[in-house]
């Protein structure tokens, strides 16, 4: 176990962690505002990937245009899901909305199977993201640098939106006290839609980068990353955007490092994420950056 090996694993862990963070931020924002764990979030990743695939491979559009369209359309899909599935249940017990979210997830996955088919497609990787830097034994893929960079920029952007804009203030207020914010005359539905657009767009970016790193696009590809992003959000403190980012990084690092140190556990890799989930829920359910529960 030498320094080069550890550094290499750190690079992979951080890259994977950033991908989880991008998706986790969307989860956490939606939870913060309407107290709903949007299980369909992972499938938005899949939708974005397919739009990207069709745009580049079938319609031969230039990739920046396709990525932009993908992010936009996924954001719109986020609003549609909210308006169609979650809004009617705003005043129902939370479990109803949760079950609806699972239903939307199944719907998206099976629509994918019916419309596009189950066989995996290869996601194209534009030349800008190919290649790597080599330092002696160390390999630093350009794609990893891009992922890290874009995640940092988007994280800062989201934090700015939440803390420095009016709609961000409304989002924070909604997560404190839903009813009062309504009474204050804030257009709650607009704020919620905005939250969904923001979260879904981030999931789209995450999906596109995920597919550039792991190029197999298929209808169920969003399930596991979605679940892991959920774990990351819980780990960092559900409701907190910086918590989600931190949780994502920690989860990515843990997954890669634990398997690198103990190769016999490589088949149980997913178990790492879910063990962390159970441990967090048992010991500190509000997560790393969440507030302590009142004793």
């Amino acid at each position: 176990m030498d320094l080069a090996f550890v550094l290499q694993q750190l690079i992979f862990g951080v890259t994977l962690g950033c991908l989880y963070s991008l998706i986790a931020i969307g989860y956490t924002m939606v939870y913060g505002v309407i107290r709903l764990i949007n299980f369909a979030h992972g499938d938005l990743l899949m939708v974005a990937a397919y739009i990207g695939f069709f745009g580049i491979v079938i319609f031969h559009l230039p990739w920046p245009v396709v990525f932009g369209i993908s992010i936009l359309l996924t954001g719109v899909l986020g609003i549609l899901i909210d308006r169609g599935a979650y809004k009617p249940l705003r005043n129902s017990p939370r479990i109803s909305a949760l079950i609806t979210a699972i239903g939307v997830s199944f719907l998206l996955e099976n629509l994918g199977i019916v419309i596009i088919g189950g066989r995996p497609k290869s996601f194209p990787r534009p030349a800008l993201f190919e290649g790597d830097l080599r330092f002696d034994q160390l390999i630093l893929p350009y794609l990893s640098l891009w992922i890290l960079g874009i995640t940092a920029v988007l994280l800062i952007l989201v934090l700015l939106v939440i803390h420095r804009t009016q709609v961000g203030m409304a989002m924070r207020a909604l997560s404190r006290d839903f009813e009062t914010v309504r009474l204050m005359g804030v257009d709650v539905d607009r704020v919620i839609s905005f939250t969904f657009v923001l979260g879904s767009s981030l999931a789209a970016v995450g999906g596109i980068f995920w597919c550039m790193k792991y190029p197999a696009v298929e209808p169920f590809m969003g399930v596991i990353p979605g679940l892991k992003a959920f774990v990351a959000a819980v780990l960092g403190g559900i409701g907190s955007v910086s918590g989600a980012a931190l949780g994502g990084l920690l989860l990515g690092l843990a997954e890669v490092l634990i398997v690198a140190i103990q190769p016999e556990w490589s088949g149980y890799r997913d178990a790492v994420a879910f063990t962390i989930l159970i441990a967090v829920l048992l010991t500190r359910p509000t997560g790393i950056m969440g507030e302590e529960l009142p004793k």
Binding site: Q9, S122, P215, E264
Partner: protein, 371 residues
């Protein structure tokens, strides 16, 4: 009046008579049309569809094919077989394509005494101690042995590293057969890395393999993971030859793997360049005409499963499942698309193995290894 009625009723009977004669023979197929190995199921179904065009009738009756999607899942495979037997009342079943799912589905077929022929399930447990389950492909103990010989003798490897899917019966067993034979031949396994179906990130496994520096990597896994392992290995600078099994022969290996899967060798059931039977030649032409695609292993093997069932029904002279089973188990030198097939008493055929490799982005035939 009576005369009119009797003439009319005789006419009706006469019109209905062809209906009796052409009561269809129902054959079921449970295939993975979606999920992790969807490619196999879809290729198989296209093969069976063309085979049905070649032989649409048997014993003067039309064949009625019932398809159920197993979603590449064991539980759904078992349910699919139940459905075919109970609801569709099939007399024989084609399927499944992968060992794990076939083992799951075979139980019900065995208990209900419905013969089942798998096109490509290679794990020995599929037919072990079962009377009604057959296959038209070689089995993994042989595949592992041949792969080990190939690695050691042809590819000159003294050391190897394994990477395989621990959630698939096929991968686990084939890896262990290879390991046993490779070490018996004097080779050394330097590392054994694992993952689960659906995993997409293989960087820890590839790092580990890279650190032990083997002569060859044996990856008896399915096409999606194989392509991604190859891709990630090449990206990480691990350029050792990769040897894999029959599970790799799907077009997705090429489309997902790109240049990373060049020179990947694999043991396989079939390549269209090794066809040497009249039925095979005819089928090759018709397949190209009907689908516009090149004939692949899974379509050809599934077609053979269909043809062999029809041949058994013909020899049995009836659609009684027990008689079909007797006829299947006495299949001798049946000229299939993929070669001559003789079924042994244990339900497995005596079958040659083919070695293919990926060259210039296509599957290229290397050699045949006779049984």
């Amino acid at each position: 009046m009576l005369k009119l009625v009797s003439v009319l009723s005789l006419l009706c009977l006469a019109l209905a008579a062809p209906g009796w004669a052409s009561q269809p023979i129902v054959i079921g197929a449970y295939l993975p049309m979606t999920g992790g190995v969807a490619s196999y199921g879809q290729m198989a179904w296209s093969g069976i569809a063309v085979a049905k065009k070649v032989e649409p009738n048997v014993l003067g009756r039309p064949v009625d094919l019932k398809l159920v999607d197993t979603k590449s899942d064991k539980v759904d495979a078992a349910n699919a077989v139940s459905r075919l037997i109970e609801r569709d009342k099939v007399v024989a079943i084609i399927g499944e394509m992968i060992s794990g799912n076939t083992i799951a589905g075979s139980d019900h077929a065995e208990r209900s005494a419905i013969p089942m022929v798998s096109p490509t399930a290679t794990n020995p447990i599929v037919t072990q101690n079962k009377k009604y389950i057959f296959r038209v492909c070689f089995i993994d103990p042989d595949q592992g042995k041949i792969a080990a010989k190939l690695a050691k003798d042809q590819l000159g490897a003294k050391t190897a590293a394994l990477i395989y899917d621990i959630s698939q019966d096929y991968c686990v067993a084939l890896a262990s057969f290879f390991k046993n034979e490779f070490t018996a031949l004097g080779g050394k396994i330097l590392a054994e890395t694992k993952f689960k179906t659906g995993d997409r990130d293989f960087t820890p496994q590839v790092s580990r393999i890279k650190s032990v520096n083997p002569d060859i990597i044996y990856a008896p896994i399915y096409y999606t993971e194989c392509a991604l392992v190859a891709k990630q290995a090449r990206e990480m600078g691990l350029n050792k030859p990769i040897l894999t099994g029959d599970g790799a022969q799907a077009p997705e290996l090429l489309s997902l793997g790109g240049s990373a899967v060049e020179d990947v060798y694999f043991t396989a059931h079939f390549h269209k360049d090794m066809i040497d039977t009249p039925r095979g030649k005819k089928f090759l032409e018709l397949y190209k005409k009907e689908t516009g695609a090149e004939l692949d292993a899974f379509s050809a093997m599934a077609a053979d499963a269909y043809f062999i069932i029809l041949d058994a029904i013909k020899r049995a002279g009836s659609d009684d499942s027990k008689k079909i089973r007797e006829a299947l188990s006495s299949t001798k030198d049946f000229e299939g698309v993929t070669g001559a097939i003789t079924i042994k008493p244990d339900g497995n055929p005596i079958k040659a193995m083919v070695v293919n490799k990926v060259k210039d982005g296509a599957f290229v035939y290397v050699t045949t290894i006779k049984p």
